[in-house]
């Protein structure tokens, strides 16, 4: 493989990492509070607001059931408004964030709901406010689950990022389609797939390691 092609792969890898990294950060920034709220706002819960909970649930489901490639083109005006352009890696971060935030929210909701309800009652019994319960009980206790959820979200984002080539987002997926498929370069396709597999393995291993580190539920030696 020529140095030019290798250079292309390196550049595409950085584009992918940039898009996925920023989208994961922003997705978490929106998805984590949303997930915590979804997990604590049903009737009788900490921030009980059953109607808001229901409405947010419907919005989250709607976003999650829209195919990503349709979401990307459907929100182009919004993307232009936020990023100033609808083309390129930075623009691609907008749809990636919008797709990942509800996904992360659902994963966070599931992780928070795993926390023993008795702990909420315990903290309430010594006078903790709802926010104190979230930050001192729910999030620390759900941390291993939250880290695994984020790992899953990053891996999914790598998959999504392959599709933003459609709006000139660049990245590994785009490279694979343009060179590997459209220019009949199977070695390029293979190289892209190998890099993606390596990235996913790396992210998953790192996530598993961190989740294990913070999990005190198991006896550790």
């Amino acid at each position: 493989m020529s140095p030019e092609l290798i250079n292309l792969i390196v550049q595409a890898t950085f584009e992918s990492l940039y898009m996925v990294g920023i989208a994961a950060l922003l997705g978490t920034a929106f998805g984590l509070p949303l997930g915590v709220f979804l997990a604590t706002s049903r009737k009788g819960e900490l921030f009980a607001a059953p109607i808001v909970n229901r409405v947010l649930g419907i919005v989250v489901n709607a976003t999650r059931s829209t195919p990503f490639i349709i979401l990307v083109v459907a929100i182009i005006p919004f993307t232009r408004l936020v990023a100033g352009t609808s083309i390129g890696s930075t623009a691609a971060i907008v749809p990636l964030t919008i797709a990942s935030a509800p996904f992360i929210a659902r994963l966070v909701e599931a992780a928070i709901r795993e926390v023993d309800g008795g702990l909420i009652e315990t903290a309430s019994s010594f006078g903790a406010s709802p926010l104190q319960i979230v930050f001192k009980v729910l999030i620390p206790e759900a941390l291993p689950g939250l880290l695994l959820a984020l790992t899953l979200a990053v891996v999914s984002l790598l998959g999504y990022s392959a599709m933003v080539g459609a709006v000139g987002g660049g990245g590994l997926g785009d490279l694979g389609i343009r060179y590997g498929y459209q220019r009949f370069m199977p070695e390029m396709m293979l190289a892209v797939v190998v890099v993606l597999i390596a990235l996913v393995q790396l992210v998953q291993s790192a996530g598993d390691y961190l989740a294990r580190r913070v999990n005190r539920r198991l006896r550790h030696r």
């Binding site: 008795g118 309430s124 019994s125 010594f126 006078g127 941390l143």
Partner: protein
């Protein structure tokens, strides 16, 4: 409608006896006034009336047991004391404040003076023993240095100073409950609520935890409310007891009085757990209705009171001239009072047929409730 009106129109008053006759006096740490608690119907399930017309006081500095079968309303009762639930009617006065009227920040401040320990410990798995104990202090806004000093003091108080950096998953059940107790005491509460705190522990650990609670009551003067379904817990630790059944207080008073003269069937069944109310199988199977020559009459008598049974058999033998034999005996101590039953064999024939009558008369004269069960050969 105020609490006192609700009292007047409720269930018959004679069902309740306040522990302290003048319950509004300052020595009442917790006072239930005309409390009822009804859970509304929800998602097709009918509403549940958990507590009705609860009126009693828990004396300051006491250890009071609240005993009842599951579903009797114990959990609702304890959650009313620390404001986790609101009564449907009536008031709960804790340390002179109407906790049932507080909400939001005021309630949270009041809750710091009420500690609670739980059956399943409810420790945070992500925090060490020390950090678990620190949690209520962090919530109360203590400084780091104050928290550190207080946590060290508390770990020593509950006897696990060496477990400072251990996570709950590395601790035994008894050690976890010690952390729970230290955490409950962290903010120096005036009341400690124990919700079945020993029900998940083995008998030996239970004993150690109950001893620790007794020490805490004695040394810190903390009023302890023990919610339990286990008679052994009340017997070992409590001075006062409230017997709950189907949402009503059926008896309340000093442990010694209640269990030496249990009136309600549920109280009697709790007492039976300790002293047993059935005869040994080998004896029960031999009892017949008709006397036989050279046999014995079987008489069971109840022992209730301080030192009551000590010399009874010897006196019976001496004063009636009977060769009394002891067929079965079960005596225990509750609140310093002897409680139990003796089964005596009275020889027939030699001094005449009236041995049974004479024995029963003697027992009745000395106020031992007795019954003639039959005869054995």
């Amino acid at each position: 409608m105020n609490a006192h009106q609700s009292l007047a129109i409720g269930q018959p008053i004679e069902r309740f006896e306040a522990i302290s006759p003048a319950a509004d006096e300052p020595e009442a740490m917790v006072r239930f006034a005309g409390i009822s608690k009804t859970y509304p119907a929800y998602r097709g399930k009918p509403g549940v009336s958990a507590l009705q017309n609860i009126d009693f006081a828990i004396p300051r500095g006491s250890i009071t047991g609240v005993i009842g079968r599951s579903g009797a309303g114990k959990s609702s009762l304890v959650r009313l004391i620390n404001g986790l639930e609101k009564p449907t009617t009536g008031r709960v006065i804790v340390d002179g404040r109407d906790i049932s009227a507080l909400a939001g920040r005021e309630l949270r401040l009041a809750q710091r003076s009420i500690g609670m320990i739980f059956q399943h410990f409810n420790l945070l798995s992500s925090r060490t023993a020390a950090d678990n104990i620190a949690l209520p202090l962090e919530i109360a806004g203590w400084t780091k240095a104050d928290i550190k000093a207080r946590v060290t003091e508390l770990l020593a108080l509950v006897g696990i100073a060496d477990k400072h950096d251990r996570y709950p998953s590395e601790l035994s059940g008894g050690q976890k409950q010690r952390v729970g107790i230290a955490r409950a005491l962290a903010t120096r509460p005036s009341v400690l609520l124990s919700d079945e705190a020993t029900s998940a522990l083995d008998p030996q650990t239970t004993r150690a935890i109950l001893d620790l609670l007794a020490n805490i009551n004695r040394e810190l003067g903390v009023t302890i409310v023990l919610i339990t379904h286990e008679m052994s817990v009340v017997r070992q630790l409590a001075r006062d007891v409230v017997v709950l059944d189907a949402g009503h207080v059926v008896e309340s008073g000093h442990v010694a009085d209640i269990f030496t003269h249990p009136k309600h069937p549920i109280t009697q069944s709790f007492l039976a757990e300790v002293i047993g109310d059935s005869l040994p199988v080998s004896l029960a199977s031999r009892i017949v209705a008709a006397p036989s020559a050279g046999g014995q009459a079987v008489i069971r008598l109840q022992v209730r009171g301080a030192g009551a049974g000590d010399t009874l058999v010897a006196r019976l033998a001496r004063e009636l001239g009977l060769d009394v034999s002891l067929l079965s005996a079960r005596i225990d101590e509750i609140g310093g009072q002897q409680v139990g039953s003796l089964v005596l064999g009275i020889p027939l024939g030699i001094p005449g047929e009236d041995a049974v009558t004479r024995t029963l008369a003697f027992l009745s004269q000395h106020q031992f409730p007795a019954e003639h069960l039959g005869y054995v050969a």
